[in-house]
């Protein structure tokens, strides 16, 4: 059902204003009609009073004598003289209500009773114009020489008053309808104009698509009005929100480096440790240059060490390349991840369970960069949660499903909120897990969090049906 509450403010307020105008019009019309009615009734009362008083003066002596002809003659002449005027019927009766004569004896024969004509008869002072009745009956005492000698019942034609009232009603209705319509439209337009900035503001807010957009200066209302201040406040807020979004984007961008940064010392060890052996090998070559078997062994050692260093460097570079979005995921990417992550595991004395059962075919439809980022961030988080001597595991199964397990106590609440909800990121926490959430969402995947006797586990399921990003 249509509801006023569902309408936009810019339409609702002008409509309410227009409605109020109509209401004012209706009340004003009612007042005018009521005043007209009072004036007409007062006029009619005065006319009736004059009519009755005039007849009483003329008829008094005849009524006192019960002179049928004289009473009739007076009434008949009065009727003829006032032909086309207000008097329709006048009946004169004695005190007992017996008709002496009437202006129309056929309606009220001589010697008949006045009773049949009494229903609806009103006293002069109480005359009311009722509904659309074209005639009004008035009953008054006929007094002569301060004595009540009879009664006068008159039927007065009020059709002209009724017509006048109808005409005024029509004019008033038409006039007020026009005026009200004008006022209503004027009010509607004025309110709409006044509320246009609100519509502009609402439009900007609705169109921002997650990013508040500042309103151009030429659309800001002039002067120091509430609306101008509202616009300024909105612009300031949109600026702040945009700055925050930029900062968040920058932060997310950095997160990739952060995850590597966290690995940097481990990686430094990974590079540094073979260096001693490699330098010994060069010394050995130099010292035993004449012994080909020793040189060959030392060169083999050098080759293996340098190849390892090359792999580590390549994995690190790969992790940080920004243009890898088009590269499809391969099992080698998980080898790279293991290479990068293993030093951290060994530094903390943790045990790593690494199972990749998915084939290149299972992975081929997914982009490498986001999956590597997701896995690395979750592995680092798991390693931190498992603590020194703990246990961390990765299982990649067709589907594609990444299951990261650790022996830690499970996700703390702030981390869970970052990973599983869109709630605002609490100050002080990292944005790594929120980045995982955003990446999974972008890929149309799902994150499940479960905790059992074996520890905490997070499963990321990524759809493989979609085309590579």
């Amino acid at each position: 059902m249509f509801s006023l509450r569902q309408m936009p403010l810019s339409a609702r307020v002008p409509l309410i204003a227009a409605g109020l105008m109509v209401l004012v019009g209706v009340v004003a019309s009612q007042q005018v009609l009521s005043a007209l009615n009072r004036v007409q009734e007062a006029r009619l009362r005065e006319l009736a009073r004059l009519h009755v008083d005039g007849l009483a003066v003329a008829l008094g002596p005849s009524v006192l004598r019960r002179d049928v002809w004289e009473v009739y003659d007076t009434l008949d002449r009065a009727t003829t003289a006032m032909a086309g005027q207000r008097m329709v019927l006048t009946v004169v009766a004695d005190e007992a209500g017996r008709v002496i004569a009437a202006s129309d004896p056929r309606r009220a024969p001589v010697d008949s009773t006045l009773a049949p004509l009494l229903p609806g008869a009103q006293a002069v002072e109480d005359i009311r114009l009722t509904a659309d009745a074209p005639h009004v009956r008035v009953l008054a005492d006929l007094t002569y020489q301060d004595r009540r000698v009879g009664q006068i019942l008159s039927e007065l034609d009020v059709a002209d008053l009724i017509r006048e009232r109808r005409r005024v009603w029509g004019l008033l209705l038409a006039g007020n309808a026009l005026a009200t319509l004008g006022l209503a439209i004027g009010g509607f337009l004025a309110m709409r104009r006044m509320l246009r900035p609100v519509a502009t503001l609402a439009g900007h807010m609705a169109a921002m698509e997650g990013a508040p957009r500042a309103i151009p200066a030429d659309q800001v209302p002039r002067g120091d009005t509430e609306l101008a201040r509202l616009f300024q406040t909105y612009n300031a807020m949109s600026g702040a929100a945009e700055a925050k979004a930029v900062a968040e984007r920058r932060l997310a961008e950095r997160e990739r480096f952060v995850s590597l940064g966290r690995l940097s010392s481990s990686l430094a060890h990974e590079i540094n440790n073979p260096l001693g052996g490699l330098l010994n090998a060069t010394d050995t070559i130099r010292t035993y240059a004449d012994r080909p078997d020793v040189v060959r062994e030392a060169a083999g050692l050098l080759d293996r060490g340098l190849r390892h260093l090359r792999d580590v460097a390549r994995a690190t570079l790969d992790q940080n390349r920004l243009d890898r979005h088009g590269t499809p995921l391969t099992p080698e990417d998980f080898d790279d991840l293991r290479l990068l992550f293993a030093p951290e595991v060994s530094r903390l004395g943790q045990r790593l369970d690494w199972v990749v059962t998915a084939t290149a075919q299972d992975m081929g439809r997914l982009a490498a960069a986001p999956v590597r980022q997701i896995a690395l961030n979750l592995l680092l988080n798991a390693s931190a949660a498992a603590g020194p001597g703990g246990q961390v595991g990765l299982e990649v199964t067709p589907g594609l499903s990444l299951r990261i397990r650790d022996s830690g106590p499970g996700l703390p609440e702030p981390a869970r909120l970052r990973l599983l909800t869109d709630d605002p990121v609490q100050p002080g926490g990292g944005v790594g897990l929120r980045l995982v959430r955003d990446l999974v969402a972008e890929m149309g995947g799902r994150i499940d969090n479960a905790k059992d006797a074996g520890g905490a586990g997070i499963t990321v399921t990524l759809p493989t049906g979609a085309a590579p990003c």
Binding site: V68, W69, Y72, D73, D76, A101, D104, P105, R106, P109, V110, D111
Partner: protein, 283 residues
């Protein structure tokens, strides 16, 4: 009825008050009238006054009263020199009154009394009107009372018991109005007035219907007191009346009255009324 007593009193009073006519020789002629005419009394009076003034060479003073009784009283006590009365009051005071002239209507000094009812009324005769309301013109009017009362007397009835209610409208036109307006079911009216009204006010008479006409009776005459019949004023008035049809003003007045002229009438002209008076004697 108490009227004979009043009439006797008035006659006596008139005789006592009567003064020598010579003293009033230069005075205007005073003529008493009843509202026997149509609705335009003022115009008729004005023309009649002018025509009679020219014809008599004297000023004319017209005194109109509401009832025959009042005019008869004025004549008897001498405050008017002559009066245009109905044949009924003339005969009531025949011993002291004398004819000056009788108007001609439709070439004859005769007229009828009409019994009228509302145009839609189904009544065919007087007997059908029993129990209804009836309008008479004047208790001293021949056509407006005597004719109907004598008809009832011949039936052994009296107006006040035959009719449920009867009223006097004091004017033949008023009788027509009463019946036309529905105030009464029926009315007794001067046939001359009804016919004259039918010409000048046909919308009024059209609301009535004549159900009975009397025999021809003597037209309402101009009369004077018998003892003043020889007065110069009365003589001058008589000549002026006889000469009305010979002057322009007179013809204008006669035209308004729808009369043809005035002739000297004989008392025998009123024998019909006399007979009806006898019929109501016992009432």
């Amino acid at each position: 009825m108490t009227q004979p007593t009043r009439r006797a009193f008035m006659t006596g009073a008139a005789a006592l008050i009567a003064a020598p006519s010579l003293l009033r020789a230069a005075d205007p002629i005073r003529l008493g009238l009843t509202p026997v005419f149509l609705d335009n009394d003022a115009e008729v009076i004005s023309h009649l006054q002018l025509a009679l003034g020219q014809g008599s060479g004297r000023g004319i003073e017209l005194s109109q009263r509401r009832t025959y009784q009042e005019v008869t009283g004025m004549l008897l006590e001498g405050s008017v020199d002559a009066a245009w009365l109905c044949g009924f009051p003339y005969l009531q005071h025949e011993n002291v009154l004398s004819l000056i002239g009788v108007p001609l209507w439709r070439k004859a000094p005769l007229y009828q009394s009409y019994l009228i009812v509302g145009a839609e009324d189904a009544a065919q005769s007087l007997t059908d009107l029993r129990g209804g309301a009836h309008a008479f013109s004047d208790p001293d009017s021949n056509s407006g009372w005597l004719v109907t009362a004598s008809e009832l007397a011949r039936m052994g009835e009296r107006p006040e018991t035959f009719f449920q209610r009867s009223l006097f409208a004091y004017g033949h036109r008023n009788v027509v109005r009463a019946v036309a307006g529905g105030l009464t079911r029926s009315g007794s009216v001067d046939g001359y007035v009804w016919e004259a009204l039918a010409k000048v006010e046909p919308s009024l008479t059209a609301q009535t219907r004549v159900i009975a006409r009397s025999e021809m009776l003597g037209f309402p005459p101009f009369v004077t007191r018998r003892d003043r019949a020889g007065d110069a004023a009365v003589q001058a008035l008589q000549q002026a009346l006889f000469g009305l049809s010979g002057t322009v003003e007179g013809q204008a007045a006669l035209g308004l009255l729808q009369l043809d002229g005035v002739i000297a009438g004989e008392p025998a002209l009123f024998d019909g009324i006399r007979a009806r008076m006898r019929d109501v004697q016992g009432l």
